[in-house]
Symmetry: C2
DNA sequence: TTGTAGGCGTTATCAT
DNA sequence: ATGATAACGCCTACAA
């Protein structure tokens, strides 16, 4: 039951110094290629350090300089969209010499708080976070600010007083999808939205409403269904929708999982896509092109968003000015497939 | 361009000591509830530490005790299977008070080496890894051993001299799938295997061969196709297979992505599943039940595997005995769906 | 160009 | 029960 430490002791600058009969400060300087060290000593130091397989003790350095070169990343989960975004973060961070530490909150506020506090206990230089759906208070995030550690929020927005955001233009996404359905001749378009208070959901719905209004189509409240981000809920909601007297002739779901649920209900009802009813999802998960019919969807620039978040983060890390809090908004694009395309033209 | 440190200085045990006019050693002891501190001082220390919002500086502690309470996890990517496994690791680690640091190698050996070396530079207490497909040499992993840091490999096996493994019984998975196809009356069963030297692939193929032999079916080398773990390769391979004179009447693919590729080729050829040809995949990704027809697949206990890996890791961390290197083998199960079920009976 | 010395926050080994 | 002090590995004024 004894916790174990390091056995084969790592060489330290002390060892190098001893070997060369010089002081540790000289070694330290030589190792970081300081200008005021003679090239001979430098060479000697390098040689010995290699011979001894010297590796700087990052813990000691971090402790000393109060910087870990580690970025904390917290995400609600690692689904297709988020794991791709994380890959983008990784990409930029690694290149900039930072290590990324990924934690999942599992959409739980408690877990998120736990993660932040662990990270805060000195292991990270800042935080890139996509908050859990439960997160309504941001005290745990503000704690980073109090220590002047940069924060960047991505995917899901948080109040701008707190941190810069990198998000998708969700309204535009909803607008794109709805406009497309209208162009294809659908008249009675329903939306499966997410929970009522979720920003992402409302934004996509706003785009939906905007498109309808622009086309002088009245927004029918019966066509707006709030349900969980979940295939089963979407299935039942769609089932109900299709039973109603004036059933919709198209459905826009704000996630692909919901689109799947809707699709199943549509098929059960014996309706054909796109002729009887149109369907557009959101996220463009790869499986959509494998289904019958293939399903149209709004695609996010996931990888780009991750890269952008990391880029902004690192900029802030290297700057003293933390006042200019910006919100970076990336544009989605629509991928048109069979489920919604009933006119000729140039869909993809 | 100035790197920033911590602004609002965190309280330290020194501050607490000063406030109470006692020594820092007493504070340190009180804080960790040592038996030889009077309960009064203890109480006082706790009170002040709360008032000052004292948080131990983990960096200092880690530096001092040479232990970070962080587990490094390296995976080739964060696809469905691996991200679920990571969730399992997370689960156990968090509960045990460890923080998990996840890095992706992107199936690149170089990236994997970089990740390990960064982690090794003192930030982690050990490593849980699923090696990249490029990884043939294990020196970078052995370095952990040299420092006596525990390693656990999961999902993809590495030589047992190096570390304990938590893997799936891949042979049994291949056996299950093939037996099922035989039971369903298929006679000429092909396998889309992975690259020739990949352990996982060979094991699944061994199971395939075993099932055939048990049923006195000759293993036909023309029915064994090696191709990349990839939808497109599988598509072309299947296309070729179906063109051959004596075309197979069933295909077992060692991944679901490959099954998709095969499915597309089968449909193009105008063959029906399961009547004309049977198909079984591997991994049981959720989308399989959404396809037409739904596709049978071998399911791994992903979450369990993650938990198991973390459990073993933590056991080793707390034990001095590192000699007993075991390989933990978990059993997969077969999920039978439409693509392979042409007899009655109790499939799922 | 090089060396000396102090300190980062904590733990642990001595004393007292 | 408590205190003084050294040490962990490294960096960085300051001094020489």
């Amino acid at each position: 039951m004894v916790l174990k430490g390091i056995m084969k002791k790592q060489a330290t600058i002390k060892d190098i110094a001893k070997r060369l009969n010089i002081s540790i400060s000289t070694v330290s300087r030589a190792l970081k290629n300081a200008p005021d060290v003679s090239s001979e000593t430098k060479k000697a130091v390098i040689a010995v350090s290699e011979e001894l397989h010297y590796q700087p003790n990052r813990l000691a350095v971090s402790f000393r300089v109060k910087q870990t070169n580690t970025i904390g990343v917290i995400v609600p989960n690692l689904d297709y969209v988020l794991s791709t975004m994380v890959k983008g973060i990784d990409e930029v961070a690694l290149e900039a010499g930072y290590t990324v530490m990924v934690c999942q909150s599992n959409e739980s506020f408690g877990r998120e708080v736990l993660n932040t506090s662990r990270m805060l206990q000195s292991l990270v230089d800042g935080l890139i976070i996509s908050v859990s759906s439960e997160t309504k208070s941001f005290d745990h995030i503000k704690k980073f600010q109090e220590r002047d550690l940069p924060i960047v929020a991505f995917d899901r927005i948080i109040p701008e007083i707190i941190a810069p955001n990198v998000i998708l233009d969700n309204e535009y996404g909803g607008y794109l999808a709805t406009m497309h359905l209208i162009e294809q001749g659908y008249k009675n378009i329903a939306i499966l939205a997410g929970p009522k208070n979720l920003g992402i959901s409302n934004a996509r719905m706003d785009g939906y409403k905007k498109a309808l209004k622009e086309n002088k189509i009245k927004v029918d409240i019966k066509n707006i269904i709030h349900c969980d981000f979940n295939q089963d809920y979407a299935y039942f909601a769609t089932k109900d929708l299709l039973k109603s007297k004036n059933r919709p002739d198209a459905i826009f779901t704000i996630s692909d999982r919901m689109a799947i649920g809707a699709m199943i209900a549509i098929k059960e009802r014996g309706l054909k896509m796109p002729s009887d009813i149109g369907l557009v999802g959101f996220n463009n998960e790869p499986m959509l092109s494998l289904l019958t019919p293939t399903i149209s969807s709004v695609e996010q620039p996931m990888f780009e968003m991750g890269k952008m978040a990391a880029k902004i983060f690192i900029e802030r890390l290297h700057s003293d000015d933390h006042t200019n809090i910006t919100t970076e908004v990336l544009k989605p694009r629509l991928i048109i497939r069979e489920s919604s395309k009933r006119k000729g033209g140039y869909g993809i």
